[in-house]
């Protein structure tokens, strides 16, 4: 079976490029994969099925959505909320009409009016703080013959949106834990809490800093390590001042450290999130591989992590005290951290094991490539048998047959 594979690729700096770099070799061991690059943008050979990796970033995924429109196929939906992508592919290219149409498809006349408000600069951009209300996933779903998602959360959102085509839930693959990890130079005698990734308000950084300031009073040896680029407009110094946190002593911020080095230095990995776009987190999966206990927000995919490996805190009311309590519990109980780390590693080596994920991809792609032919053949044989005995294809007697078929296989 030949698969045309559309995805951002390294050296592009994107989580989905990293994802594909991990998955592709394992897939290529099992099926014939034709990787379609951003520049080629065209399949070199006829494929049985096309696979499109789509996330919320217009620069990284716009060309993939265009290819999907030309040749429908299977979409790996890395984010459910695609408002930013659609805005970039319409307004970002001077296509106001496209954005109006997308918003109208999503929310009817009200959506169109809101889009007008954005275009006329009467309203702030919806993708900045109302994207979750208007995810605009329909733009992609309409061309998807089938979907691969990473969480029950996104599966539910997709089905609730009325999507009825086949869907496969396949966990994010785990990176193998490196054999050797160079250490990071950090102050000795400190207990390190790590927060890694692009630092923006959706990572709940203000809440984390506030919680950490409270935690420091109870656990003075705690040190917060923030690694990653800082979102424009997010200034940390005033927050440090207000909370009495000393940069370089209580909080260390680094632009970049190799993820494995960082995570191995941390006692606890924090990955808070709200709102969620339906994404998974590569850094959380890396933390699982390295056996690090996690603290996450109780939302979306993060809420589906097993309690044995991740403590979860609510967002909104009670969030800050819950973060403080959870971190204190983890920092004061090495045995708990060990148990959670073991559970995390077991999860990475089980459900998220690369070979297992690659097998699940192959199964989904094989079902997608020939599933309609199988369905037609089975239903054709059933219909012939019915017709030969005088049963009308749309008769009541056959509705029970169709229902039973739907329960176990290719019914429709």
């Amino acid at each position: 079976m030949k698969v045309a594979y559309y995805s951002p690729q390294p050296p592009e700096r994107s989580g989905i490029a990293d994802y594909s770099a991990l998955l592709l070799p394992a897939l290529a061991e099992r099926i014939d994969v034709d990787v379609v690059g951003r520049r080629s943008r065209r399949q070199r050979r006829r494929a049985d099925v096309s696979l499109y990796h789509i996330g919320n970033e217009p620069e990284a995924h716009g060309w993939i959505v265009e290819a999907l429109r030309r040749r429908p196929g299977i979409v790996v939906l890395h984010d459910f909320v695609l408002h930013h992508l659609v805005a970039g592919m319409t307004l970002g290219r001077g296509d106001g009409g496209g954005y109006l149409d997308a918003m109208q498809r999503e929310a009817g006349p009200v959506g169109r009016m809101l889009a007008h408000g954005v275009i006329d600069e009467l309203l702030p951009p919806l993708w900045e703080d109302r994207a979750v209300e208007y995810p605009l996933a329909g733009e992609v779903l309409v061309s998807a013959n089938g979907l691969i998602v990473h969480s029950a959360y996104v599966e539910r959102l997709v089905r609730d949106s009325g999507y009825r085509e086949p869907l496969w839930r396949i966990p994010h693959p785990a990176w193998p834990a490196p054999a050797e990890i160079a250490s990071v130079e950090l102050p000795e005698g400190r207990t390190i809490i790590g927060c890694y990734g692009h630092l923006n308000p959706a990572k709940r950084l203000p809440q984390l800093l506030e919680a950490f300031a409270l935690l420091r009073r109870r656990v003075p040896e705690a040190l917060l390590l923030l690694v990653g680029s800082l979102s424009p407009g997010l200034e940390l110094e005033p927050v440090y001042d207000r909370l009495g946190l000393r940069p370089g002593d209580d909080v260390i911020r680094l632009d970049y450290v190799d993820e494995a080095r960082l995570l191995s230095a941390c006692e606890v990995c924090v990955n808070l999130r709200y709102p969620t776009m339906g994404e998974t987190s590569g850094i959380v999966v890396r933390a699982l591989s390295l056996g690090r206990p996690l603290l996450v927000s109780d939302v979306g995919w993060f809420a589906e992590l097993p309690d044995e490996a991740a403590l979860k805190v609510p967002v909104g009311e009670g969030e800050i005290p819950a973060i403080v309590d959870a971190l204190e519990l983890l920092l004061r109980d090495p045995a708990l951290r060990r148990r959670m780390g073991d559970a995390a590693r077991a999860l990475a080596q089980g459900e998220h094991r690369l070979e297992r994920v690659a097998e699940a991809y192959v199964a989904a792609l094989e079902e997608a490539a020939g599933g309609v032919m199988v369905q037609d053949a089975v239903l054709g044989e059933m219909a012939r048998a019915a017709a030969e005995t005088g049963l009308a294809a749309n008769g009541r007697a056959l509705s029970d047959v169709a229902e039973r078929l739907r329960e176990v296989g290719p019914g429709r």
């Binding site: 199964a363 032919m373 029970d400 329960e407």
Partner: protein, 341 residues
Amino acid sequence: MRIAVCAPQVPFVRGGAEIFSERLVDELRKREHEVELVTVPFKWYPGERVLTQAFLWRLLDLEEADGAPIDLVIATKFPSYVIRHPNKIVWLLHQFRQAYELDRTELGQFDESAEGRALRRAVQRLDRVALGEARKLFATSANVADRLERSTGLPAEVLPHPPQELPYRCDEYGDFVLSVGRIDRAKRVELLIDALGADASLRCVVAGEGPERDRLERLARERRLNGRAIFAGGVSEQELADLYARCLAVYYAPVDEDFGMVPYEAFLAEKPVVTTTDAGGPLEVVGNRETGLVCDPTPTAVAQAFAWLRDHPDETRAYGRAGQRAAKQLTWDAAIDRLLA
């Protein structure tokens, strides 16, 4: 309880699975249950026929019969477990192995076309749904349970069943090796014929019928085995018991077999079993130098194993008797207690 035991049938073919389902019905009846064997013919080729024939089971309504409820269905092998019932137990003999470990082997069925690959996946999906519905899942061997868990993620309790009832006895450790079972490629009787080619002093009796019989008889003639391989065809229960009673040892080396009743039958006749390292289920029963010999799947190794048994009568007898002790521990009382618990 009113119980329907569900088993597919391949018309004109009879083997261990058929013996098992009939015996299960008998044993349940002995325990004063009202039991019926429900069978539907099964043909798994060509193409999508494997699915359409499986779906026939889904269309059956076994929730009640003649106005009275059926309390329990016990399904045995693919595709009988596709049956729909609120109280379904599966005692799994095997899945449709061509969709799993036999895929892309000479025993496979699905080609490399997109339709062939999707058909295989459709069988797997069917299994996940149909087996996932079962209130309890049992497998006849650890090999079957492992395959099930690997392929569907569903755990099953291992529940072996006793072999068919025969007047088992041991008269002697004679001068021939016995092969029992359906003669098809998966049972790998050819390896035994090849072993006879490797050792001119070895003799065998092959009891059973199957699509490979003519070819193997031809092969024996070509190898000039000069009557050392006797194809006895289908034999009666009495004849089979006689063969077990008189043979030196029993050959049983299918390719990754599910369970296989033959080793237990051999043991009840106090005969050791020679099997191979890749035989699957039999390896759970045949302990090397305990109840038989486990050798490489090569003609020379098989021939040497039987020659060793012939030359070591004390060990041969001891292995047979150890097997008998193990086989006697398998009882229908224990099996049915667990099944209906």
